[in-house]
């Protein structure tokens, strides 16, 4: 069983020149964890997800490890957070894309995708070997559904 067998083909995506605001609307409307970001040729650039969006709103040093024990000391002003969002929503998403995100090929065995789900706790883009063109997305739900109730399972299995 490979990733191609259970992936969602032709997933929704944003282009790297689209704005953070457009990507944010897409993520919120569809409650996506991650949205693939592609270049003009459809090659995967990386992922931009809900955590990447929220991380833009807090000082970066607060989300890069265990450097700050808390942010409780900061003033509790959600209008400031909104102002911050407004100040960056017109920036291209390429500035905030996670380029280190894991990716798999269509022929990658499912078990490798499961390992990546366990390590990264997120959905994974599937790309065409060689061209890196985005061909699908695979989620932990896809994997779990397939394993718990496989379509071609023997009765009573």
């Amino acid at each position: 069983m490979s990733c191609a067998d259970i992936m969602t083909p032709n997933p929704r995506y944003v282009r790297e020149d689209d704005t953070i605001g457009e990507a944010a609307r897409e993520i919120i409307e569809h409650t996506y964890i991650n949205l693939p970001v592609v270049d003009a040729e459809g090659r995967l650039v990386g992922l931009f997800g809900i955590y990447d969006l929220l991380a833009l709103l807090v000082p970066r040093v607060a989300v890069i490890g265990n450097l700050l024990p808390n942010l409780r000391f900061m003033s509790d002003d959600d209008s400031e957070l909104h102002r911050k969002y407004l100040s960056l929503k017109d920036n291209p998403v390429r500035r905030a894309v996670n380029r280190e995100a894991a990716r798999v090929y269509a022929d990658t065995p499912l078990i490798e995708a499961i390992r990546l789900f366990c390590l990264n706790h997120t959905t994974i883009p599937v790309v065409e070997r060689g061209s890196d063109r985005l061909v699908g997305m695979i989620s932990y739900w896809d994997a779990a559904r397939h394993i718990v109730a496989p379509k071609n399972a023997a009765p009573g299995g």
């Binding site: 040093v61 490890g65 450097l67 700050l68 024990p69 808390n70 942010l71 000391f73 003033s75």
Partner: protein, 441 residues
């Protein structure tokens, strides 16, 4: 297997080659420095450069105890949130004016670095600084640069501020008070000069909008405190430990003993409030705060230096140094000050100081004895600690700040740092030069 002082012998060759090789491997940073030092030490023993007893005798357990004890104390204290509280209050006392904060946070960094290790200090102060800068919408670079400098300047002031001082104090028997009396005055002068320069270079150009300053003023510093009880306990134990350092000589104890007693007392006070079944877990967590890489690096290094000392390499080098300076204490002190500053900017100052200590000790008989060569120790301490300001790789704290900054999107370039930092470091050494001549000659 020692040699006549001025003659290099073939017996020196292998120990010297092993030391240079280990030194090069440490500098290359391709292999962890603790592993290089330990393997080098093992090879020195296996090759018979020094026997097992001599190897154990070469390890300075007072230095190890002092480092371990302070690491445990600071590791527990940092959990209290004390440092975030102090940084936020300092910014608010300065009415959240960037120029004022550029004075306050580096001064706090210097004070903390004098009492704790530099790396811990910057690890705790820099993240809060970056949050404050982000709220004020001002450049972070000036603050990070100033804090790097402040950590190395502050660390120079005391016995426990910087590893080179710990090494020197322990090997030579110089106390906490000796360091304070000899080095703190010039460190204060350097801190004032550097603070003024920070203002001229950056501070006077930094401005923040009223609304942004208001957000910093509205920060609740109390909320940065994670555990109030632990905060007071940590402060009490740190104060008692520093008092112990001050009284170490009359009490006839070594600084390492004081630090370990302080560490054990703080671990006891921390655990005693918890159910008994959690005690082992809390003590394990406190002991995990010890940077074992550093401790084992020191162990290996002590043995390696012991090996070249045993082979007479350091006696040979000290003789060469004596010849070069004509045996003049004044020239030797200034040579050590400038030489160690330049070298410490380029290479790790810990192995440098560890190998300089026995070399300087060898000079004592020819220069009037242990008391007479004291200025050489102060010159070495000032040069080795402040030299770390010269480049981005000059001290561990510099690299730590650069690492945090890069991850947070602020790159501190090697050359950009060097262009400003190296001349400023030379200025600091020039101030030390004047001070050393005025104070000790």
């Amino acid at each position: 297997m020692t040699s006549a002082a001025g003659t290099a012998t073939s017996a020196m060759l292998f120990p010297a080659a092993l030391f240079v090789l280990a030194y090069a491997a440490i500098m290359s940073e391709r292999v962890n420095r603790a592993l290089v030092a330990l393997l080098g030490a093992g090879l020195a023993i296996l090759a018979g450069m020094l026997n097992q007893e001599q190897a154990i005798a070469a390890v300075d357990f007072n230095t190890l105890a002092l480092l371990t004890g302070m690491m445990i104390i600071v590791g527990i204290a940092r959990k209290s949130g004390l440092f975030g509280y102090v940084a936020i209050r300092a910014a608010q006392i300065m009415r959240a004016r960037p120029a004022g904060i550029l004075i306050a946070l580096p001064v706090i960094t210097a004070i903390l670095s004098a009492l704790l290790d530099n790396v811990t200090t910057v690890l705790l102060i820099v993240p809060v600084t970056m949050v404050i800068c982000s709220e004020l919408k001002v450049r972070r670079y000036p603050f990070l640069f100033a804090e790097i400098f402040a950590s190395n300047i502050g660390g120079t002031a005391t016995l426990i501020g910087d590893p080179p001082n710990i090494l020197i104090g322990s090997a030579v028997g110089l106390t906490f008070n000796d360091f304070v009396f000899a080095l703190t005055p010039v460190v204060l002068v350097i801190l004032v000069v550097q603070t003024a320069l920070n203002h001229v270079i950056w501070g006077r150009h930094l401005h923040a909008a009223g609304a942004d300053r208001q957000r910093v003023m509205a920060m609740n510093a109390d909320s940065a405190i994670e555990d109030k009880r632990l905060l007071w306990l940590s402060l009490a134990v740190m104060a008692a430990t520093i008092l112990g350092f001050v009284l170490a000589r009359p009490l006839a104890v070594e600084a390492g003993t004081v630090a370990l007693i302080g560490a054990a007392a703080l671990m006891l006070l921390e655990t005693i409030a918890h159910p008994r079944e959690h005690h082992a877990e809390l003590v394990t967590s406190a002991l995990n705060q010890v940077e074992w890489v550093t401790i084992f690096f020191f162990i290996g290094l002590f043995v390696l230096v012991g090996a070249i000392e045993q082979a007479g390499v350091l006696r040979f080098l000290s003789h060469q140094l004596l010849t070069a300076t004509g045996g003049d204490l004044h020239t030797t002190a200034l040579g050590i000050l400038w030489g160690s500053a330049i070298l410490s900017a380029l290479v790790d100052n810990i192995p440098f100081v560890a190998s300089m200590i026995p070399l300087i000790q060898e000079l004592a008989p020819a220069m009037g004895g242990d008391e007479a060569i004291r200025p050489l120790w102060w010159a070495l301490a000032l040069g080795a600690c402040l030299g770390g300001n010269g480049t981005l790789i000059g001290a561990s704290a510099n690299l730590i700040v650069a690492g945090i900054a890069e991850r947070a999107g602020e790159r501190i370039g090697f050359m950009a740092f060097l262009r400003l930092a190296f001349p400023l470091m030379l200025l600091q050494i020039a101030i030390c030069n004047v001070y050393v001549v005025w104070r000790f000659f």
